[in-house]
Amino acid sequence: MLTFYFLNVEHGDSIIIEYESPSGFVYGLIDSNNPANLSRPPALTKLQELGAKQLSFVVLTHPHMDHYNGLPAIIEFYRGKIGHFYCFPIGKYIPGRIKNLCSIYQKIHNSTESQTLKRQITELVTVFLYVKKYIGLKNWYEQNGYLNRILPEGFDEVSIEVILPPAKIKGSYFEMIKKGSTDIVNSSKLNDLSLALKFIYKEREIVLGGDGTYENWVDHERYCRRGQININGSVVKLPHHGSKHDCQLRVLEYLFDGGRKDKIAIISANGKSHPHKDVIKILSEKEINPYCTNLARECGANIENLTSYKELTPSFNRLLNTIATHLEKRIQPCQGDIQVSINSSGELRIKPQSQIPCPCRGDYDFLFDT
């Protein structure tokens, strides 16, 4: 049995993979987010709840806070018990690359007054340090490619492939690190580096899209169609939390298996800025069943009107509510944590934390039956 736990970590990813092999259970972790900044991030709590004594692998898809927040605490907890660490291309094999990258981040850290930004940078540097200290450089693999198979221990019957980012992305990124350019952090293109993975088990494909960008998916499509290779996802964790740009019709049509009826889209977002209503609309039209960790705006989440700060005048609060998307608390959970299992016969089972009916999945269609 292969089980994926998509944790409700608001706007971010935290995915635990559990595989029941003949010799027992093995675990993997993809990204971590810790929105409440708890000393024990949600992924660690869940791993302990599941009884994970060691982790076969940990993946960091790309260097954005909503994907690495809390990772140091997990790596430290499982010190010496993590088999492999896979991350976005960073050029760790080239001497001084990590040092240069950290110097860039240090430059930004020392020139900002924002405690949030400082904390984000410190957290990322701590990830690198703990991977080096507790997992070891020899077990640290940087990944890219269109179909690059990885082999973490214990996942014998499961094929795991890295399908993004394309190798060509690395060049400009490495060049910026070499030059010590702070543009590396200022770019909106950091998502281009994001890893995406494909799991194949019992003829089912599960795609974990990371924050993969539209351009990269189109590139992937071009490459794979030439080789007559397709992605036939029956479960897809939508790229970039269901963003309008990265989950366009072309991408969704490419990622999902057109022939299957039981197609599942997992959306790990806070429902405020993501997912986009157009994405939900496409999913409905394509008869893909969405499972959102939190209520989306499209479905009635009303966050803007809830926020008000005493320090600001009522009129300024109103202005702020008009122009800004608040990413603070007051999320409205929908499905919560989502558990997706594939048994040895290839049957798919979805178990959301909250069994809330969803109009986009057709759960209310019986009302219209005559």
Binding site: H109, N110, K118, T122, Y309, L312, P314, S315, L320
Partner: protein
């Protein structure tokens, strides 16, 4: 009713009450009284006992004064601007940390409000400009506060040196 009258007059202190109770003060010396005050005068004199009403008015006004003091205090502590820092650059927006009294809140602001040459770490001030009843946000780039910049630098330096 009397309280309403006071509110309409927007009386906030005892001297104003005193004025109301002494309509003689408004009487013009040439004998031509202003019509509005002449209407007020009989009501105050004929319907009420002056001593009792003085206290009554004072009580109302004292309360009003206190309320207004609280409001005034709140108004002075409430601001029409907030300092912030860009913490993440996205396609069409910036993720920003806005500094309130004791915490930072994270919001997304459209790129269109900002000048072009901003980047992660840029400090700014967001305020509200009001013109002909229309309110619009104004973003001004400012230098970061030095006393806050130094926070955590040594810790990061230690981490990086350990990583090397």
């Amino acid at each position: 009713m009397q309280a309403d009258t006071l509110t309409n007059f927007d009386i906030a202190d005892d001297s104003a009450v005193h004025l109301d109770l002494e309509p003689e003060k408004y009487r013009r010396t040439d004998g031509n009284n202003l019509s509005s005050f002449s209407r007020l005068e009989p009501k105050l004199k004929s319907d009420t006992n002056t001593d009792i009403d003085k206290n009554k008015y004072r009580l109302i006004c004292t309360n009003k004064k206190k309320t207004m003091q609280v409001n005034h205090h709140q108004k002075t502590s409430q601001k029409n601007e907030v300092d912030g820092t860009i913490i993440r650059v996205e396609d069409t927006s910036f993720q920003c940390a806005l500094s309130l009294q004791n915490k930072e809140i994270i919001v997304q602001l459209p790129k269109i409000f900002f000048p072009q040459d901003v980047k992660t770490g840029t400090a700014f001030n967001l305020s509200m400009d009001e013109y002909s009843g229309l309110r619009r946000p104004v973003v001004k780039i400012r230098p970061p506060k030095k006393e806050k910049m130094e926070y955590g630098n040594k810790e990061l330096e230690l981490l990086i040196s350990e990583l090397r």
